[in-house]
């Protein structure tokens, strides 16, 4: 294929793409318009049906719980994939996490960064834990809570303590927590089946006061397990990358 012919093929393709794109843009509904009945139906019935005032959680963990299960296993697979790809390869050696040259001149973490990280670690744990365990209210949810919990561990690392990060999140424990999180979600679904109900059916008592801690049945419980899974998955991914950066060296010497 000559360069000029290639250019014409490209221009024809690009022209077609632009035309279809513009056609699609022109056919979009107006800004902020909402055609479907789904949202209106949910707004009307979700709170009384699930006793969760956080309708987003009600959708994520009940009405469309099966979708969320799939999403959760995407994250599980991603974390597993990162661990497999970033394992120690032949020709690489893993150093001990303890500084081998303690006398060398390392620029210390600035006290401003340390202070900020230390100040924020506690509140971040609290916010993350609250979000993951209060799915019945809004805004909340296991995913958000889990990621924010994982951020707390990143703060520990940022405050300059790689060893403390390792001690707080030993890989074996993180693996178990992740498995419990992912398995717990699936197990709740299977428990419903064991009772002769549809998979992921909300079989727990819903409580009477919408948004109360005891309300919303399996929604809050599933969200909690999702929080565990997500936090562990993110910590695992970051820990693998930290190992790669700080411990694993090329060459066997």
């Amino acid at each position: 294929m000559t360069p000029s012919l290639r250019r014409w093929v490209f221009l024809a393709g690009a022209g077609g793409l632009v035309a279809f794109y513009l056609w699609g843009l022109l056919g979009l509904p107006g800004f902020g318009s909402y055609p479907g009945p789904y949202g209106f139906v949910l707004n009307r019935i979700a709170v009384s049906q699930t006793k969760a005032t956080g309708v987003v959680s009600a959708v994520n963990f009940d009405y469309r719980g099966f979708d969320t299960l799939g999403e959760e296993f995407i994250l599980l697979t991603a974390a597993a994939g990162v661990s497999i790809v970033l394992r120690r390869l032949r020709g690489e050696r893993e150093r001990s996490a303890v500084d081998e040259a303690a006398d060398r001149d390392v620029p210390a973490t600035s006290s401003a960064v340390r202070m900020t990280a230390l100040l924020f670690t506690g509140p971040v744990v609290l916010v993350g834990w609250w979000l993951a365990s209060h799915a019945q209210t809004s805004p909340s949810g296991g995913f958000q809570g889990g990621v924010i919990l994982a951020t707390a561990f990143i703060l520990v690392y940022l405050s300059g303590e790689f060893l403390v990060f390792k001690r707080f999140s030993p890989v074996d424990l993180t693996d178990v927590v992740e498995a419990v999180g992912a398995g717990g979600f699936a197990a709740i679904g299977v428990s419903a089946v064991a009772m002769g109900l549809p998979y992921l059916y909300n079989f727990l008592p819903l409580g009477t006061t919408p948004g109360a801690v005891s309300s919303s049945g399996t929604i809050a419980l599933i969200s909690f397990f999702v929080g565990l899974e997500v936090a562990a998955a993110f910590i695992l991914i970051v820990a693998e990358l930290l190992d790669q950066t700080l411990l694993i060296r090329h060459g066997s010497g």
């Binding site: 805004p139 949810g141 990621v147 990143i154 993110f234 990358l241 950066t245």
Partner: protein
């Protein structure tokens, strides 16, 4: 449709529209900046700021749940992963 409810915290519709337009423009500028910046570390930092902008966008468009995810993932987790990868690549090149 949902009837408009007025509370002491209700923001006038015009103000909210203006806020939405401002944040949309900021997000467009931020995205362009992330693409145009070529120095890797700076690009990652720009990406982190862009994550915060997106989080504000979601908040302004009344999606606080998505805001929380975006803050944690877009502004913290993704930049950390990228920075660690860059550090690893640099060590290898040395």
């Amino acid at each position: 449709m949902i009837a408009a409810v007025s509370t002491p915290y209700t923001v006038p519709v015009g103000l909210m529209d203006a806020l939405q337009v401002i944040v949309l423009v900021l997000v467009a500028v931020g995205a362009t900046a992330v693409v145009l910046i070529r120095a890797h570390v700076r690009q990652v930092l720009a990406l982190s700021v862009y994550g915060v902008l997106l989080a504000v966008l979601f908040l302004v468009f009344q999606a606080p749940d998505v805001t929380l995810s975006e803050l944690a993932v877009g502004a913290v987790a993704l930049p950390i992963v990228l920075l660690l990868t860059l550090a690893k690549i640099r060590k290898r090149e040395e």
